[in-house]
Each structure stands twice: as structure tokens, then as C-alpha cells.
């Protein structure tokens, strides 16, 4: 009898086999997959480079600014970089299908550039990184953040110090 119950259940449920590759694959939302980088929200703190156990992340200074590279073929999808990133500039997508022919080996890289800018106060050349103003009290308005962003690190500190806090 037991055999018949199992048989009936299997008839009702269909096979356990996943449809992939003949159909879409089941992908959990929080699957640890390919790294994605958003240069606009990066603070340039380089913590992700330091905590990466596989040395998959490289920052480099170039005449245009600071470049970011994450090599998908070295990354071990541990999630350390996302965990330590203060601004969520780096994050893990749930994209797992990274298989590629060997000729494309060196194209498997996430690239980003934090461009140089000229400080609006002193005219010095500095990186256009996202400002580190998370702990500022009271929180900065969007315009204030943009103003801080347009300055070099020294002038940013000055700006925040001289900022008039509404009573």
C-alpha cells in the first residue's frame, strides 16, 4: 500500500528535477553571486580591498581618478566586502551564471571609476568620492551633501566645522 501512496503522490507532484537548463532556474533572492559596484556612492575608504580574502578587489590611482576592479574569477563570493562597506556602494547580486569560454577570461571584471574633481573652495584636485557624513548631527540635507561632495577632503572638514546648526 505504501508503494501506491508514493506512486499517487509522485503522479500528483511531478518530478523533483529542476527545469534548468531547459527552463528557468530557481534562484533565492539572497544568493551570493556576482559583485556589483556603484562608483557614485563609494567613499573611497578601500576597506573592501583590505577585507577581501581572495584579493579580488584592486583600487588604482590613475590620472583620471581612482579605478575600482573586482575580478569575478578570483572572488570567492564570501560577502565580506558588502558587509564592511559603509555606504552599500559594493553589493552582491544573486546573479550566479558566470560561466564563460576561456577567451573571455579577462573580461570577467566589474570596473568602476571615482573621477577627479576640482575643489570649489581651494581649487585642489581631489577625488569625487561620496562624503562620509553618516554621523553628522543633524543629518545633512541633499543640497548640503552635494556641497560637501564638491570639495576636497580638507575643505570638506572646514565646511562641516563651520556649518551653521539650526537651533
Amino acid at each position: 500500500m505504501n508503494f501506491l501512496t508514493i506512486f499517487a503522490r509522485n503522479l500528483k507532484q511531478g518530478p523533483q528535477t529542476e527545469a534548468f537548463p531547459l527552463g528557468p532556474a530557481f534562484t533565492p533572492d539572497r544568493l551570493r553571486g556576482r559583485i556589483e559596484f556603484k562608483a557614485e556612492s563609494c567613499e573611497g575608504c578601500r576597506i573592501c580591498e583590505r577585507v577581501c580574502p581572495a584579493n579580488a578587489i584592486r583600487f588604482a590611482k590613475t590620472p583620471d581618478g581612482m579605478t575600482f576592479d573586482c575580478w569575478h574569477n578570483t572572488c570567492v563570493f564570501c560577502g565580506n566586502c558588502e558587509f564592511y562597506c559603509p555606504t552599500d556602494a559594493i553589493h552582491q547580486t544573486n546573479d550566479w551564471d558566470l560561466s564563460h569560454v576561456n577567451a573571455d577570461k579577462f573580461d570577467m571584471v566589474e570596473h568602476g571609476l571615482i573621477p577627479n574633481q576640482t575643489c570649489v573652495d581651494c581649487g585642489a584636485t581631489a577625488l569625487n568620492t561620496a562624503p562620509m557624513v553618516k554621523n553628522a548631527k543633524p543629518p545633512l540635507s541633499t543640497e548640503e551633501v552635494a556641497e560637501v561632495r564638491a570639495r576636497c577632503p580638507k575643505c570638506r572638514a572646514k565646511y562641516l566645522k563651520n556649518r551653521k546648526v539650526p537651533a
Binding site: 534548468f20 574569477n73 564563460h100 570577467m108
Partner: protein, 145 residues
């Protein structure tokens, strides 16, 4: 005359897979075993089957960063696989060294020693990713045959 293309058509349906462990941590090997052996992923739908001898293989899956100790054995085994063969590097270890990169004990990337056709990055890659890689390998293998 007509027989030979027929044989070819039949043969291209069923590539046999062989697995070489070039010093892997076993993570990728477990995923490869999962891919092949449990009904949930069932790679035999693609006509593939694992075989026990390199002499029967068509597609070879390599995992691990090629440690110095296993190098000779791996190269000898690779030589035994008849042509045309397609090589798939499973996991980031054979592709770049991954977490073991720049160690004195590993010789990765493995494509310095063995021609690699398809890479499946991941540490380990999930079974679906391995299936996607094997599907790419089968396409390449059909062209070579």
C-alpha cells in the same frame, strides 16, 4: 558511407564526463557530484554520464588550483583522455587560484599547463552554474567532433 555520419550523430548525444581533482578543497567536487548524482539536478538529461576512466571521457571537469604535488599526476591523466576533449575549469581555483592565489604550493592558473575551454567561476559554483558550463562545453565538443 552513410554509416559514418550516423555514428557521429549518435555519439554527439552522449558525452561522457570525467572529473579531475587537482588539489581542490572538495567543495567543488561535492557540487559536481550533486550535479550528476541527485535527481534534482540530473545532468543525465543532457546525455552526460560520469565515467571512471580517463580513457572513456569526452568532457573533463577540473577542480582545484593544481597543487605542486599533484601536477605530474594531473598532466599524465589529462594526456590519457582521447581527443577531441573539452576541458571545463570548475570553481575559481583552477581559473585564477581563488583563495589560494599566490601560495607557494599551487601552480594556478591551470591554463598555463592544460588548455581550458570553459570556465565556471564560483567557490563553489552552484549546480545550475556547473550545468550551464557543461552545456557550453557540449556545444564546443559538438563543433570539434
Amino acid at each position: 558511407m552513410g554509416l559514418i555520419p550516423n555514428f557521429k550523430n549518435i555519439a554527439t548525444r552522449s558525452p561522457w564526463i570525467y572529473r579531475i581533482n587537482a588539489g581542490s578543497c572538495n567543495g567543488c567536487d561535492v557540487e559536481m557530484a550533486t550535479t550528476a548524482l541527485i535527481p534534482r539536478y540530473d545532468i543525465e538529461r543532457l546525455g552526460c554520464q560520469y565515467c571512471g576512466s580517463p580513457k572513456h571521457a569526452d568532457i573533463v571537469l577540473i577542480s582545484g588550483p593544481l597543487t605542486v604535488r599533484v601536477k605530474d599526476a594531473v598532466l599524465r591523466m589529462y594526456e590519457e583522455i582521447p581527443d577531441p576533449k573539452v576541458t571545463v575549469a570548475v570553481g575559481v581555483c583552477p581559473i585564477s587560484g581563488g583563495i589560494f592565489r599566490e601560495s607557494y604550493a599551487v601552480l594556478a592558473p591551470i591554463d598555463q599547463y592544460i588548455p581550458i575551454d570553459v570556465n565556471v567561476p564560483g567557490c563553489p559554483p552552484r549546480p545550475q552554474a556547473i550545468i550551464a558550463g557543461v552545456a557550453k562545453a557540449i556545444a564546443i565538443w559538438r563543433e570539434r567532433l
